[in-house]
């Protein structure tokens, strides 16, 4: 009961506190989502069913690029 009453207030509070950070959160979150999707999606969903060596694995390279972008927006956004 207490949680049900306080959760909406908490969410509103978080939104207000974030203020100008919303842009940074959205952009960094987008790349976090891409990195997580590439890391955890089953191989057959994205047409990658083999297990190539790590440095030849396109999926790993793509995750690294997404993480660089996440850092760019987290730091400079």
């Amino acid at each position: 009961m207490i949680l049900a009453e306080t959760l909406p207030l908490l969410l509103v509070g978080l939104v207000l506190a974030a203020g100008e950070l919303w842009g940074k959160i959205c952009f960094a979150g987008l790349f976090l989502l891409v990195a997580a999707g590439l890391a955890f999606l089953p191989g057959r969903w994205i047409g990658m069913e083999g297990r190539p060596r790590p440095w030849r694995n396109v999926r790993y390279w793509a995750i690294a690029i997404a993480l660089v972008q996440l850092l760019v927006y987290a730091i400079f956004g």
Binding site: F27, I46, G47, M48, A62, A66, F76
Partner: protein, 536 residues
């Protein structure tokens, strides 16, 4: 002030031109069929396609245009590569490109024709053709403004020289010549742009010098914000995210023939994926290389060029002025070579792709369904010449009507990119999307985008920013397409095999292409009549 080209510069520039034209002509020896010409015989390695993807996107219009917009708006322009390129490229690499490669098509409109109907195919083929003509015009205008400032060449002389050089190897060589010359051009481009940034920063007093200038100019107060406030007049961050990141970027990287064609020319779907990820990796450095010159230009030339406002058309002078001011002999030759690399690679990409589109999506299905492979090949080469002349003629209009060539390019895109992405998503991800739904989504979406763009053209003060135009035309096309599809009859499941993500082609193998002149009348998919003349 014009550049003082020394003998070393002239040797470097002419050496580059001779090398690039020679390489293109040498590669063109192996062209035997339209498949060789339009898809490089499906023989491209991933790394070559990756380099080629970068310089098909980044060219003269971006070097001149992003420096201009870096001057006008600041680092927010870096988002055009960060969220407008790297994000959609990563998504497309795993979800869309291997799928399009497996569909065995030559062009994106060809896919849409198979998935929806011939009207949708033709509409997008015509849209892309006009867009490519407009893009060629922006590239010619960029080249001419650069050559005018640096060498003092008159506008039409610059346009003519550029057209002749690029025409020689694009007409003869096809996609393979285009891609391999672009590998070389990409390396030159990175080296040249990097040198310009380093020497320019030195001249401007480093990053501190730029910050000091930005702080002193009231109209430049948001120039160092990568994400401007939500009430920014041109680039509010929600519009950057929704319009650029979710619509313009994905539509460009999934639906632009000049981009997709490289990936359709690689050997396997794994290489298609690798080429896109490689491109995203290279693209990490380009936002800095292209936008930083604009900020350096702001620091060095704000008194000369003044504050941007309505009717201000000085933007395209920022890069040439910077080149003339900061580069010593020798380096100047490398940077002019880099600029030429950008001009040539961009022009040859769009020329080859426009020719492919017109042959595959207009000539073969509508004008001469029984055309032989040889006829398609010959026509493709003649079309390159015709499109080159058309783009060159239109360049004068672009030069005189837009604040920067980059703005012109993005404005052209917003007319149909939103609806294009909506149809690609509906078509690839849903078996329920119907031809009627696709067509209605297309008509309503493009209609809305056109109305908003025309309104902005006549009343710029209260017009809708073009990123919002892209977003809302996408949403309206998607909703219209989905709603109309609910009330109309979809294609049968058999008909959709290999065209919808959840319905693999029979036997797990791709369907043969209907756009391949050499297979016309041979391997029939049974779909041709629905995308060609008889289906209208």
């Amino acid at each position: 002030m014009k550049a003082n080209l020394g003998p070393l510069d002239l040797v470097l520039v002419s050496g580059y031109l001779v090398l690039i034209v020679g390489l293109g002509l040498w590669i063109s020896r192996g062209i035997r069929s339209s498949k060789d010409y339009f898809l490089a015989g499906k023989s491209l390695p991933w790394w070559a396609a990756g380099f080629s993807l970068v310089v098909s996107d980044i060219g003269a219009k971006d070097m001149v245009g992003l420096a201009a917009d870096g001057y006008r708006f600041g680092v927010v322009m870096m988002n055009f590569d960060f969220v407008g390129c790297i994000f959609p490229v990563l998504v497309a690499a795993f979800l869309f490109m291997p799928f399009l490669w497996l569909a065995g098509v030559y062009t994106v409109p060809e896919y849409l024709g198979l998935r929806f109907n011939g009207a949708v195919r033709t509409f997008f083929a015509v849209c892309w053709s006009f867009f490519m003509l407009g893009t060629l015009a922006t590239i010619f205008a960029s080249a001419a403004s650069m050559f005018d400032e640096i060498l003092g060449w008159p506008f039409w002389f610059s346009v003519g020289i550029t057209a002749v050089v690029v025409g020689i190897f694009t007409v003869t060589g096809g996609l393979k010549a285009v891609v391999y010359t672009e590998v070389f051009s990409c390396v030159i481009l990175i080296v040249g742009a990097g040198l310009l940034c380093i020497l320019g920063l030195n001249e401007a007093g480093g990053l501190q010098g730029i910050r000091h200038t930005v702080d002193s100019l009231p109209w430049a107060r948001n120039h160092l914000d990568l994400l401007p406030p939500a009430d920014h007049p041109q680039f509010p961050w929600p519009a950057v995210l929704l319009g650029l990141g979710f619509v313009l970027g994905p539509a460009y990287w999934i639906g632009n023939q000049a981009i997709v064609q490289r990936t359709l020319g690689v050997r396997s779907q794994n290489e298609a994926r690798a080429s896109y990820v490689f491109c995203a990796g290279i693209k990490l450095v380009f936002p800095v290389l292209l936008v930083l010159p604009g900020l350096i230009g702001l620091t060095l030339f704000h008194e000369k060029l003044g504050a941007p406002g309505e009717g201000w058309t000085e933007g395209n002078r920022v890069l040439p002025l910077l080149v003339v001011r900061v580069l010593p002999t020798g380096v100047l030759g490398i940077v002019i070579g880099a600029f030429l690399a950008g001009v040539l690679s961009n022009l040859d990409s769009y020329l080859n792709s426009a020719s492919t589109l017109l042959v595959t999506d207009i000539y073969r299905p509508f004008i001469r369904p029984g055309a032989s492979d040889d006829q398609c090949l010959k026509l493709g080469r003649w079309l390159v010449v015709a499109i080159l002349l058309g783009g060159a003629s239109a360049s004068y209009v672009v030069k005189n009507n837009f604040g920067s060539v980059f703005e012109a390019f993005q404005t052209f895109l917003t007319f149909f990119q939103g609806p294009l992405l909506a149809l690609l998503l509906l078509g690839m991800l849903s078996r329920r999307a119907t031809p009627a739904g696709g067509l209605m989504g297309l008509v309503i979406g493009v209609g809305l985008a056109s109305a908003l763009n025309i309104h902005r053209f006549f009343r710029p003060a209260d017009g809708v920013p073009y990123l919002w135009v892209a977003w809302w035309s996408f949403v309206v096309a998607l909703v219209t397409g989905a709603v109309v599809s609910l009330f109309t009859r979809p294609h049968t499941e058999e008909r959709l095999r290999g065209l919808v993500a959840w319905l693999p082609a029979a036997g797990g193998r791709p369907q043969p292409s209907t756009g391949d002149c050499s297979t016309h009348g041979g391997e029939s998919t049974g779909r041709e009549s629905e995308t060609g003349r008889t289906g209208q």
